[in-house]
């Protein structure tokens, strides 16, 4: 005898208890601390802060722990928390030119004012698994030196002085800062909203789109003008005090791509820009973002839109991994009712097909 399915509530509770159990894993193995995640899985924390749009290492570490290391799930946790936070306003634009640089490279000039600073990077490591790291390894203390006193101006500013690159658009200080988490997005979208969307976008999605542009789907001839990573001061204009109050410093990675010329009968040709910015050390993300930012400027720069990476609606509507994973995974939800409707229709069509084909074909009157 059939009894309608019941007991969902208890099933959910038990499933969540089992999840908590699996999350903890073997209880003979020491539990992960948030400090361990934040210190030793720091690039994962950086990604969760960037795509979660919330600069808080401790909460990001908690989210990674709670999500069992699933970074998209962790990003989702951070986003859901962020959505409940009140918004006081927008900070003053950060000055990445004044960044306390920990890494800074340019692939367009051999040497630049302030120098090339390799910093902590996987670049040039040989990707050989290191058995030493398996347990109890204490690395050598890093080499240290005097902090440079020279400024490290942005490479694009150096190019800009000669007018070789288009000027960076100057923000109107009184214009409201666009925020797609507070206002619904409309197309065509301005560059501030596009950049916000890309900053929150899935790293893998941007990587693939940026890569596709390099392989010829809307090619835009990029050079990594500069990638810099370090600390910048964040200031907030306090209306009561009448001056900008420092809130603290955050770690950022910035990538400025230098791309193919534009020019016209009235304008001298010059390089164009693609821009990427992310929390923490997120080089793959910012480079991909800069490639896609430049691709999405096709309309503005009068280029033909022929590739997915140039298509603003396509990119911006599909870049958010929290949205994408939700909708893909919602296919796990019951669809009995729609499926039943489709079954009914399909059975009817098949029956009609069978009947039509059963009818004996008309015999030819004469052999």
């Amino acid at each position: 005898m059939y009894v309608a399915v019941k007991g969902g509530e208890r099933a959910i509770e038990n499933a969540h208890r089992l999840l908590a159990h699996e999350r903890r894993g073997d209880r003979d193995v020491p539990e992960l601390s948030l400090g361990q995640i934040s210190e030793q899985l720091s690039l994962g924390v950086d990604r969760v802060m960037t795509e979660g749009s919330l600069y808080d290492r401790e909460l990001a570490a908690l989210a990674i722990k709670q999500a069992r290391g699933d970074l998209i799930e962790a990003i989702f946790l951070v986003r859901a928390f962020r959505a409940t936070l009140p918004r006081f306003g927008a900070t003053e634009p950060v000055d990445t030119g004044a960044m306390q640089v920990r890494r800074r490279i340019s692939s367009t000039f051999k040497d630049i004012p302030g120098g090339q600073i390799l910093g902590p990077t996987f670049d040039y490591t040989h990707r050989l698994l290191d058995p030493q790291l398996a347990e109890g390894f204490t690395p050598e203390a890093p080499a240290s030196g005097e902090a440079a006193t020279t400024a490290t101006p942005r490479v694009t500013d150096i190019l800009g002085r000669d007018g070789l690159i288009e000027p960076s658009p100057v923000a109107d200080a009184d214009a409201p800062v666009g925020d797609l988490t507070r206002e619904p997005l409309n197309f065509p979208a301005d560059r501030d909203l596009r950049l916000q969307n890309l900053a929150r976008a899935d790293e893998g999605f941007l990587l693939a789109l940026g890569y596709s542009s390099q392989r010829g789907y809307g090619r835009n001839h990029p050079f990594a003008g500069e990638i810099r990573f370090g600390e910048v001061e964040v200031e907030f204009m306090a209306e009561d005090a009448g001056f900008a109050v420092p809130l603290g410093s955050i770690a950022l990675t910035e990538c400025q791509m230098v791309n193919q010329f534009k020019g016209s009968a009235t304008e001298a040709p010059c390089f164009t820009r693609g821009y990427g910015l992310a929390f923490g050390q997120s080089e793959r993300k910012t480079m991909s973002m800069a490639l896609v930012d430049r691709s999405l400027r096709a309309r503005e720069l009068g280029e033909e839109v022929i590739a997915p990476g140039q298509d603003e609606e396509f990119v911006m509507s599909h870049s958010d991994n929290v949205q994408a994973t939700g909708f893909v995974e919602h296919l796990k939800l019951p669809h009995y009712v729609d499926f039943q409707s489709e079954l009914g229709l399909l059975r009817k069509l098949r029956k009609e097909f069978a009947e039509a084909n059963e009818t004996p074909p008309m015999r030819e009157a004469a052999e």
Binding site: Q323, H335, K348
Partner: protein
Amino acid sequence: MNAPAYNFAYLDEQTKRMIRRAILKAIAIPGYQVPFASREMPMPYGWGTGGVQVTAAILGPQDVLKVIDQGSDDTTNAISIRKFFGKTAGVATATSTADATVIQTRHRIPEAPLHAGQVLVYQVPIPEPLRFLEPRETETRRMHALAEYGLMHVKLYEDIARFGHIATSYAYPVKVNARYVMDPSPTPKFDNPKMDNCAALQLFGAGREKRIYAIPPHTDVVSLDFKDHPFTRYRFDAPCALCGAGDSYLDEIVTDDKGGRMFVCSDTDYCEARQHAGHRGSESAAPHKERAHG
């Protein structure tokens, strides 16, 4: 660490106000999709975040909430959403369609007629009825503005030419108040006639796509069709095996691997109420209780 503290029904009052404004606009322009600044909710996109935001914005402490998914109060997602509001708003919850003041639904409209004062909140995955004909939002908004719905009629016509029928069995497009073509959410087309001239307010929330739309009470809702191919409802031709109902939408239950099938009401409240009233089907037992597991 920043310990989270949440408002009544989860959303902050500013957000609720923003959503209410969108709802009011939606009611004023029946069937028109109003963009709204959808928030990230603590459940995934595609799992009812639009419906949850609409419900959170309209819910008051006196409301009685019912949540159904596939017609049932006991599917896991319905339970999860009901518990969410039980926890964050502390409102009374019910499974009875008649007793509820707010009913949030996914994929079904209850069998029992709705009455004045009730609100039916639909969870909507893709609010744009033209989306699968034209993927671009910029284009579809223009088509709605100009009431340029030829493409939809061509699609329905092509179905008839190819299959002999309109091959849309759920999310069947409707025209609201003789103006906007609207997606009724993925309800089976069996439910479409219930939207027409309904006494309750019908609100539609699409969280991921950031759209809200509405059908005010007693509004004309017409399923698109042709004179020579009129709209028809589909229902499996059998009475419910539990309550014997001959007028309800049925779920097909696979009972064994030898082709065994039975058909029971998808609306569990309707089915249980009928069983309590003494109606019996071919397979009915006494009304079931929640099975206990250790």
